[in-house]
Point group: C2
Chain length 168, copies 2
DNA sequence: TATCTGAGTCCATTTTTCATACTCAAAGTA
DNA sequence: TACTTTGAGTATGAAAAATGGACTCAGATA
């Protein structure tokens, strides 16, 4: 996936104001959502984050759970470590040599709301039978996400949302 | 990305109860999150959903905004239509022939919380300067997501969440 | 010393992307 | 009528990435 300059990047400030509303209000380079997608928007990477959220720390356990090729797993893990989303954590089992596992950093754990929202969407809208994965608090309450306005009220209808460019 | 049976799928019901807690509590086949990742967890697909959320409906506009190869765009769009996330919408400009655009279905629009959560994470944790893309209500209030317990209270620390398998 | 294990690397093959050019159908124009 | 334009795709060969299997490496144990 090779991301390049997009139409708005190639335009002058003045010209970009005249761009048709048929295009996105903001070019990729200035869009936080696009940056997040570049960082973690890849199938294997997201599945690795699912593993990490489930507390799976070991290379071979992820390999078994996901059926991911070992070389791809190694490459994705080192990318996630380089980005500060996972960190290596040495561990040692009795009578075993010391090894490295991976666990979420605070930055990585901050992705939880996005994963919870994806899970919710899937439960509500995708076929495939009930899911057995639950994300819950220690006392057993299921966790969900809610869209919220700046004033704290919650927003039930996502079609009320509009995407605009911040001025400046 | 070729997803296959994972370790737990190959096990008997009895054996799977004895599986080490080093593995995920639930196999991919029974995991809603994994199904969502399979459906839309791909870089170009997510960027196309960003375009759709921004109200971009046309093939060429998406091609310009994203710099995506035309063949990849065509393939992803038809997959999203087949999944019921986008729908084709004929339109016609004065003096122009009728054409097809794409817009989010209700199912597609229900992905908004996941995209809002990703945007929030990116703003808070990724470098790259301030984002100019705002997602807001018609009256200009910024929209965010919040993790919520089943009892309605909101959850500030994502590390309180545990992943478990639903019994049965 | 030989063996086992988990965490990787290496590599030949297959699949997917990429970039560019080409097609197609309807509307406008000479 | 013939020709041009325009948006929405297809076709294609080269380049990049994924795949699956074998191999490596280091420390612990028999």
């Amino acid at each position: 996936m090779k991301i390049k300059l997009c139409y708005a990047d190639r335009m002058t400030e003045h010209a970009s104001k005249m761009v048709s509303s048929r295009h996105a209000p903001v070019p990729l380079a200035e869009c936080a959502l696009a940056r997040a997608i570049r960082a973690i928007g890849d199938g294997w990477t997201l599945l690795i984050l699912r593993e990490a959220l489930c507390g799976v720390e070991r290379f071979d356990a992820m390999h078994d759970d996901l059926g991911i090729p070992r070389s791809v797993l190694a490459e994705r893990l080192s990318k996630l470590v380089a980005e500060g989303i996972l960190e290596q954590r040495p561990y040692r089992e009795p009578g075993r040599r010391q090894r490295n596992g991976y666990r979420l950093t605070e930055k990585g754990r901050a992705l939880t709301p996005a994963l919870v929202a994806l899970r919710e969407w899937s439960e509500a809208h995708l076929p495939g039978g009930p899911s057995r994965l639950r994300l819950q608090t220690q006392d057993g309450q299921e966790v969900t996400t809610r869209l919220t306005r700046a004033d704290g009220s919650s927003l039930d209808d996502p079609s009320e949302i509009v995407a605009v460019a911040k001025p400046e």
